[in-house]
């Protein structure tokens, strides 16, 4: 038996609509920023490269996380520009620009179709927006558009900390994360990816972590890693059905790293954990505050579910 030809390879038997829809489906991909964010979070959940328990983190293990954070910052800058453009467009038509934002929440086409790397020149942005059908056709997209009038540029500085009612036994000491026993993975360097901005050269990642890592130069890096671990542990607790434990861990993370690189993720998880532990009113309040502070956050979509 031989495979039939793929629909897109035999366009004769295909309606124009089908062809367009299939092409769009194949081009859908997570954006670079999303890809980096996931990598950052993933890095924190992998077994430490030193092979030891939680304390055995080598500098190499953190490369991915910090690189991701740096990359996210860069993307944030570019993103703020894009949002600013939308704000200008909004002056012409609020509905339209909200529609763009709502539809923009869809997915990203891969570079083979659209050069996502390059920021769009302003002129091009304007050619896109007015091209939208001003009438009924775009209506379906608007229904889910955020109703807040202001779309602000994304804040680039660390998020303001959301305070929370003392709901959980925060003081209890919690071991952050049982490190999976690593076998052959000891030599596994979680090096920063070549193509992403990395604060440290990945090639120098040590094969084995030194027995006594020198604390001074890597302090901030270690900090970022510890924050990641706490947040990852909280996420695991939440997914495992222990929202109280998650809240305690998040509390701990907040006290240790109030303006940490994962502040938004921490806040988003807190909101989810509060809702899961029955404090829906509190969750809603924090979700709304989060959304007005970070309307275009990576976590906004998740948080929005708790704001209603």
């Amino acid at each position: 038996m031989a495979d039939p030809r793929r629909l897109l390879d035999a366009p004769a038997g295909l309606s124009e609509l089908e062809r367009r829809v299939l092409t769009a489906g194949g081009a859908a991909a997570p954006g670079q920023r999303v890809t980096r964010e996931i990598w950052t979070a993933l890095s924190a959940r992998l077994p430490p490269p030193g092979g030891g328990p939680t304390g055995g983190e080598g500098p190499a293990g953190v490369g991915g996380a910090t690189a991701g954070a740096a990359g996210a910052g860069a993307a944030g800058a570019a993103g703020a520009k894009g949002v600013a453009l939308l704000s200008i467009a909004k002056a012409a038509s609020i509905g339209l620009s909200l529609g763009v934002v709502a539809m923009a929440g869809v997915g990203v086409l891969t570079p083979r179709d659209v050069p996502t790397e390059a920021p769009l020149p302003a002129a091009a942005a304007f050619s896109v927006v007015p091209a939208a059908p001003a009438g009924p056709k775009a209506g379906s997209a608007f229904e889910r558009a955020p109703t807040e009038p202001g779309i602000e540029p994304a804040p680039r500085s660390p998020a303001p900390v959301i305070e929370r009612a003392p709901a959980a036994p925060a003081e209890q000491a919690i071991s952050v994360r049982p490190a999976p026993t690593s076998t052959g993975l000891a030599a596994f360097p979680l090096a920063a990816p070549k193509s992403w901005p990395a604060p440290m050269p990945p090639a120098t990642a040590p094969v084995a972590a030194p027995p006594n890592p020198t604390p001074a130069p890597v302090a901030s890096v270690t900090t970022a890693h510890e924050e990641s671990r706490l947040v990852a542990a909280a996420r695991d607790a939440l997914r495992g059905g222990s929202p109280a434990r998650a809240l305690a861990l998040l509390d701990q993370a907040q006290r240790k790293f109030p303006g940490g690189t994962l502040a938004q993720e921490r806040e988003a998880l807190s909101i989810e954990a509060l809702a899961a532990s029955g404090q829906r009113g509190r969750a809603r309040e924090l979700a709304r505050r989060f959304l007005s502070a970070h309307p275009s956050s990576f976590h906004a979509a998740r948080v929005r579910a708790f704001a209603e």
């Binding site: 038996m1 495979d3 793929r6 629909l7 609509l17 089908e18 367009r20 829809v21 299939l22 489906g25 081009a27 859908a28 991909a29 997570p30 954006g31 920023r33 999303v34 890809t35 964010e37 996931i38 990598w39 979070a41 959940r45 993307a75 944030g76 570019a78 993103g79 703020a80 949002v83 539809m103 923009a104 929440g105 869809v106 997915g107 990203v108 086409l109 659209v114 996502t116 390059a118 769009l120 091009a124 942005a125 896109v128 939208a132 009438g135 009924p136 056709k137 775009a138 379906s140 889910r144 076998t183 993975l185 090096a191 990642a205 996420r235 899961a276 275009s296 990576f298 979509a301 998740r302």
Partner: protein
């Protein structure tokens, strides 16, 4: 390129990252289309790669990476669907709503989004078995043999599901487009 006996992906961190970078899009699309709840899609992607990381030593060098990845995606998506169901979570209002990062999308033309929205909405209407075959063959361009391996079904079944899926898909796309237009008309000003 020579591939020595042990899995070459396992030797260095760069290789794991290379796997991640090369396939994160595939994993993300697969999970999304297999019904992992949008709200935890990024977590699900992480979970898949955690499994990849753990099980690379067992990965048979002759096997195709995408088929192996897809099997992991299938299981992970199933877990997430089950958990979401157990929590009686609202799954998704719309298949495309919650994609996380509006910023980089400012560069995209609206029509592309319309098409993508339509694609995903149509795909969601196929039953899961047909959907898997359809997306792997038409979108991810796996061969029939590879799909048979990924889904652990006979090749003949792959073809018959594909035939059914194609029929259903071309019907559904038209329906969905009409639905979209009528909703737009009803909601229009």
């Amino acid at each position: 390129m020579a591939r020595p006996g042990s899995c070459p992906l396992y030797d260095t961190g760069h290789d794991f990252h290379a796997v991640y970078e090369a396939h994160v899009g595939f994993v993300w699309r697969s999970l999304r289309r297999l019904g992992a709840p949008e709200s935890s899609l990024n977590d699900a992607v992480q979970d898949v790669f955690l499994v990849v990381h753990r099980r690379l030593p067992d990965f048979a060098p002759h096997a195709k990476l995408t088929t192996w990845l897809f099997r992991i995606c299938l299981n992970t998506a199933k877990d997430y669907r089950r958990r979401a169901h157990a929590r009686r979570e609202v799954l998704d209002e719309g298949p495309l709503d919650a994609m996380a990062d509006p910023r980089e999308d400012a560069v995209l033309a609206l029509e592309r989004h319309e098409d993508l929205r339509l694609f995903e909405a149509s795909l969601q209407k196929l039953d899961l078995d047909q959907r898997a075959v359809f997306m792997l063959f038409e979108i991810e361009k796996l061969t029939g043999e590879e799909i048979a391996e990924a889904l652990e079904i006979p090749l003949g079944t792959v073809y018959s599901r594909l035939r059914l899926a194609r029929k259903a898909f071309s019907r559904i796309v038209v329906q969905q487009a009409a639905l979209r237009d009528s909703v737009a008309r009803a909601g229009g000003r």
